[in-house]
Symmetry: C2
Subunit: 314 residues, 2 copies
């Protein structure tokens, strides 16, 4: 039997058919064109899946179900996208609409939740029962796996780990509060701080790595500069590790999982990211040495995380 995973994004809709081992048999994508009605977008999602079925010769009877990962606040029980900034949806009955095209089960969840479940089923935490995943991108998403199952909260809008306070009254967050983890540990926050530092330190190697155009700043540059011994670059990375480390220690104290996973472009840094984090949290987790301190690792599903994660809902 096969599963279908759909990764609904603000720019593209990606879909794939995965086999029982979570290998993607075939995938395809179409532009979301988010300004359209939800009925039009869902029709495209359905057509994309039907197209993949035709191409692979896999019929609906061979598909256990269709999982959809969507940005925004999802009511998984009701199958509704409560709202999403990216695709400007408000109370869209996504599961019901997809069920007008398919008779197999359709499930939805937040994209970060899907990523966590996908990693727990087929990625960096394969077979591990208790997993916390933080997606470090434009924002910070969170996914919680408890005893092998996704924990999405008692009501829609749980598992929003990126909107846990880190510095009350601190940096502005997209959610309207000041000082959330997202405002310190997202890739956006890293790039913002690197930009700030590079501008006030014209001697910093970060400016050379930017080819003297600060708009070229990215999340890799401060890591490269730090490794080469650049003082300003090192300060940017130390600050990032400190804030991300405090955030991870928080979730260890709350969930005490088997492993903490990180995903997003920052994870291309591999051990340059995880090694200092593993060091940092050692004496920050409640109970210190007397307690179980989970390892911090990078997610491994990479570009396929969206499709595999969504398929893992089934």
């Amino acid at each position: 039997m096969y599963k279908v995973g759909i990764d609904l994004g603000g720019t593209n809709i990606k879909a794939g058919i995965v086999d029982a081992q979570y290998h993607i048999v075939k995938q395809a994508s179409v532009p979301t064109q988010a300004e359209r009605t939800y009925q039009e977008i869902v029709k495209d999602m359905a057509m994309l899946v039907k197209h993949l079925m035709e191409e692979t010769g896999i019929c609906e009877e061979e598909v256990e179900g269709i999982g959809i990962g969507s940005p925004g606040m999802i009511d998984a029980k009701e199958g509704v996208v409560v709202y999403s900034n990216n695709i400007r949806w408000d109370n869209v009955p996504l599961v019901q609409e997809m069920n007008s095209y398919f008779s197999c089960p359709v499930k939805i969840s937040n994209d970060a939740n899907c990523a966590a479940l996908g990693e727990a089923k087929a990625g960096a935490a394969k077979g591990v029962p208790n997993v916390i995943l933080l997606t470090l991108g434009t924002g910070v998403g969170g996914g919680i796996v408890v005893d092998g199952k996704l924990f999405e909260g008692g009501h829609a809008g749980g598992a929003e780990l990126g909107h846990t306070m880190l510095v009350a009254g601190g940096e502005e967050c997209t959610c309207g509060r000041r000082g959330c983890i997202e405002a310190y540990a997202s890739a956006t926050a890293l790039i913002k701080e690197a930009t700030r530092k590079a501008l006030i330190h014209p001697e910093s190697m970060m400016n050379i790595l930017c080819k003297n155009d600060i708009n070229n700043m990215n999340g890799k540059i401060p890591f490269d500069a730090a490794q080469a011994g650049d003082k300003a670059g090192k300060e940017v990375i130390d600050r990032y590790i400190r804030y991300l480390g405090e955030s991870i220690a928080d979730f260890v104290n709350i969930f005490r999982p088997d492993v903490v996973l990180l995903s997003g472009g920052v994870c291309n840094q591999g051990e340059k990211l995880t090694e200092p984090l593993n060091q940092y949290i050692k004496d920050k987790c409640f109970g210190g040495e007397k307690s179980f301190i989970p390892p911090v690792r990078c997610a491994t599903l990479g570009n396929n995380a969206g499709i595999i994660g969504a398929a893992s809902l089934i």
Copy 2:
């Protein structure tokens, strides 16, 4: 059938027999004398329970099991107190030791976890499936009930909600980090801030309410002063509500429970505490009005929470 609940504290061991409706049939206590060996202390716990059984004429066959709430880090699965500052225990096999006196099931958990489960079974959240409880005392303890069951974390040392960062680099916390919720939202933190404010504001009514001896400061005084219009008192309370409110919003974003409960002496303030908190969190929870915002309420089991909470483990 009956259940036994034992509330193991640094000063006293309280035990009670509760009926199927979680009413305490009879209770008693003995001093902990925490400096003794754990075997001596557990023997006293067992004797206390046997004494209650004799007094009530309830025999062990009529008891479903014995639940024990203990301070510190508990490995509930293994039945071990990993460590506890209050009673200076290190890897004490509490369940095994109690089982040398009783053949019925014995279960243990952290005292704040017990309080949460007790409230969910018989108190302010009776019958409610998803509950977060914060105990506001010397420290801040946390209890998490998901789908009617206690969530204690993947490994021992989960649900330590009080040790979530609130102001990174801020006030020293007992756990060794700086800026945990405990350092801002505990009763201790409230009294500390009220003391600080009263000292720098000799005109504050708080000094009169202390009978001009700052050592008389308690958690009630700043509330009373604030209500009477005292500026310094109001600042203390506003700050406390703000920090506690941010903490509650965090746990709403993570767990999205049906209700958030508060317990501890501060709850004697009733609506003077909960009403401003309910107002405060309205636009702090992720998704704001579009999301479900749980009510904040005071726990109701009061002095019996320890015994009833422990019994509810069974």
